[in-house]
């Protein structure tokens, strides 16, 4: 793999386009209108084609204006068709953007003979060609594509910085926004305009199909990782930039390893974006699959150890208090209400975990609670018996049913709830069967 200045320009174009798309796309994601990005990115095609045919140049401001107009037109048409056409939002979008897209394709096909534009470049982008076309800006020769996406990024930054709180309000609750003087329709069309402009600017880099990934995936990833809007937007932008760098590296680095030619940067960028989303999906600290699995395992472990502690306390309760009472696993399993009659390994695991935590010790194959273990076990018995008292006194639950109900709730009762329960029951000293409720 050889890195040249061309590669730097390619990555710069992709990263800047990605950042711009990530910003406006984030608000689409938050507004739950991600597919509007899909619709607009396709529907602007006729705008591009017409502007291009009229001016015979790719760099003109006419391109942006044409795109912005068609972007707004798309949003308006989708709204009108949904309102009067008796179809849902998705169907309405489907009708509008496919038709506009097709018109754009036909126009470009027809124009391709006379002017320098090709459908495949519009569809898939041509970021590899970006460094080849330069224009003079402020006395320097810069790739035109980089200049164009930079303009789009600046437009996004300026609009979202200036209207940060207005967009936050309008994407959170459009109706409330309207009553508070922030016209949600106006904000909607402003966002659609920005999406259209950003999409058009990014065409050369990623094309009209993959731009959807750049609009939606960074925001979707950020949603898994953040709880505030500013970090949300920051993460989205960082994800987009990372995807540009890693995507280009992968495109020029990986295929040669297997004896193939370089592949499309835009394509591998979209794949990397998908990969980053998947990583967040798995490992996000709160919403990730792994975090949720750990939380579930944690709960099961805590239930298991509480069950074992409670059982040890019950079995040894009432035996001579002069020496530390000890018991075998067989005794524990055969105890009348033992939850471990058929779960020998569960009991062993629980005992091992409790020994590791210093709540239980073992000598000669017999188990006993340590001092800390006795305190913890007393807390569990207390909660259990308070709940039994509660169900018996307040809910009239039958004696034979009490244990089961209390057994479930004891695992979800924290110190606060235990205290409140005791107060509510006027600090009872015994459970319904007359057993002592430990302090």
């Amino acid at each position: 793999m050889i890195w040249t200045p061309l590669d730097t320009w390619i990555v710069a174009a992709a990263a800047i386009a990605g950042a711009a798309c990530a910003l406006s796309g984030s608000f689409l994601v938050l507004r739950k209108m991600s597919m509007m990005g899909d619709a607009i990115s396709h529907a602007v095609l006729p705008g591009i084609a017409v502007a291009f045919i009229l001016t015979a140049s790719r760099a003109s401001g006419a391109l942006f204006i044409g795109a912005a107009l068609v972007g707004i037109l798309t949003a308006v048409l989708v709204q009108i068709i949904r309102q009067y056409g008796r179809v849902d939002h998705g169907a309405s979008m489907g009708v509008v953007f496919t038709v506009l897209f097709a018109i754009g394709l036909i126009l470009i096909e027809q124009a391709a003979g006379q002017v320098d534009i090709h459908p495949e470049h519009v569809l898939f982008g041509s970021v590899e060609l970006v460094p080849l076309y330069t224009i003079r800006v402020l006395g320097a020769n810069l790739p035109r594509g980089v200049v164009v996406v930079t303009i789009a990024l600046v437009a996004n930054l300026v609009v979202f910085a200036a209207l940060f709180k207005e967009f936050r309000l309008a994407t959170f609750d459009p109706e409330l926004a309207t009553t508070l003087g922030v016209n949600a329709k106006l904000m909607h069309y402003l966002l659609m305009t920005l999406v259209a402009i950003t999409t058009v600017a990014s065409f050369e880099v990623v094309g009209s199909i993959l731009v959807v990934a750049m609009l939606v995936v960074p925001g979707a990833t950020a949603h898994l990782l953040t709880r505030r809007l500013l970090p949300f937007l920051t993460v989205a932008v960082v994800v987009a930039i990372a995807a540009a760098v890693l995507g280009h590296l992968a495109a020029i680095g990986i295929p040669p390893l297997f004896g193939f030619e370089d592949t499309s940067t835009a394509g591998s960028m979209a794949v990397v974006l998908g990969g980053l989303f998947f990583v967040a999906f798995l490992f996000a600290p709160e919403h990730g699959v792994v975090a949720k699995a750990f939380a579930r395992i944690g709960l099961r472990v805590s239930i298991l150890t509480q069950d074992v502690l409670g059982l040890l306390a019950r079995v040894t309760e009432g035996t001579a208090s002069t020496s530390t009472p000890r018991t075998t696993t067989d005794t524990l399993r055969e105890y009348r209400r033992s939850p471990f009659r058929r779960r020998r390994s569960g009991l062993q695991l629980g005992l091992t975990l409790l020994r590791l935590r210093g709540l239980v010790r073992r000598r000669d194959g017999r188990y006993a609670l340590t001092g800390a273990g006795r305190d913890a076990a007393a807390g569990i018995l207390r909660t259990h018996r308070l709940w039994e008292r509660f169900f018996f006194d307040e809910a009239g639950v039958d004696l034979s049913e009490l244990h089961h109900a209390a057994d479930y709730l004891e695992h979800y009762t924290d110190a606060d709830l235990q205290g409140a329960l005791s107060e509510e029951l006027l600090r009872p000293a015994t459970d319904p069967r007359g057993r002592r409720i430990p302090e």
């Binding site: 938050l30 709180k165 609750d173 109706e175 309207t178 009553t179 508070l180 003087g181 922030v182």
Partner: protein
């Protein structure tokens, strides 16, 4: 023409006037010819069966759904000119609670109109929002993301947002729905405070048992106004029967017939 926000109640004693208001979805009428004149300073309940158009009435007044016909006035002027006097507390289910925003930031939204376009939320405004959170007993949760609040707590931050707005007329869509007893008490306290401050409050409500306790004015709705007035006058078994009795009223059948023809 500038609006005197400090003492609007004194300029007119009619907080809300609705005349000939008809709302239709897909040409099917949802609210029929609503006429209301509600005095300032009352806490008014809006009751009626499911599908009676309670939320629609609120949204129509707030200009959030298109009117087929009709007129809405707040303190004697069209709603559009009086927007800054009106606060809205939407249904809790109407928003995405996973939105990346804290309780405090949600409350600050109530101040956006005062802050003005393009300007950031400054520290002075932030402390106002914090004071409102304090007022509803939610100051400890200011920095918590809103999905990590219980249903009752979510309702309370909605009310805190309404409080900072300092409106003259409030419309609340089912604030009591699905809240715990503590929140119910907190909401009651807020309603009382709003009444003491001479505010006018409209509350869409489901629980008929608490009507006498919570409200001094009542609007009984079933696609049209069945009765409206002081609770003592209109909360009668006769009106209740006319509001709730028999879903398939003659009006329903007429509406179905209209829908059938137009389809």
């Amino acid at each position: 023409m500038s609006v005197d926000t400090s003492a609007p109640a004194t300029t007119s004693d009619t907080a809300l006037r609705v005349a000939d208001l008809t709302i239709a979805y897909q040409r099917k009428p949802v609210l029929w010819d609503v006429d209301l004149v509600v005095p300032a300073g009352v806490v008014a309940g809006i009751v009626g069966p499911n599908g009676a158009g309670k939320s629609t009435l609120i949204k129509a007044v707030l200009d959030l759904v298109p009117h087929a016909s009709g007129l809405v006035e707040v303190f004697g002027k069209p709603y559009r000119k009086q927007r800054s006097l009106v606060g809205y507390v939407p249904q809790r289910e109407s928003v995405d609670w996973d939105y990346p925003i804290s309780a405090l930031e949600l409350v600050e939204m109530g101040l956006y109109r005062k802050i003005g376009w393009l300007k950031p939320v400054t520290r002075a405004y932030r402390s106002q929002a914090l004071a409102a959170l304090e007022e509803v007993g939610m100051a400890d949760f200011a920095n918590r993301q809103i999905s990590r609040l219980s249903g009752g707590q979510q309702q309370r931050i909605f009310l805190a947002r309404a409080l900072v707005q300092d409106a003259s007329v409030y419309f609340m869509d089912e604030p009591f729905a699905g809240v715990d007893a503590a929140t119910e008490k907190a909401i009651m306290a807020i309603l009382l405070r709003l009444r003491q401050r001479q505010k006018t409050v409209f509350v869409v409500h489901h629980d008929l048992e608490t009507v006498r306790e919570y409200f001094d004015y009542l609007i009984m709705l079933n696609m049209r106004v069945v009765a409206a007035g002081a609770v003592a006058d209109v909360f009668t078994s006769d009106n209740l029967r006319r509001t709730y009795g028999g879903r398939l009223t003659l009006l329903d059948r007429a509406v179905d017939a209209i829908g059938g023809i137009r389809q």
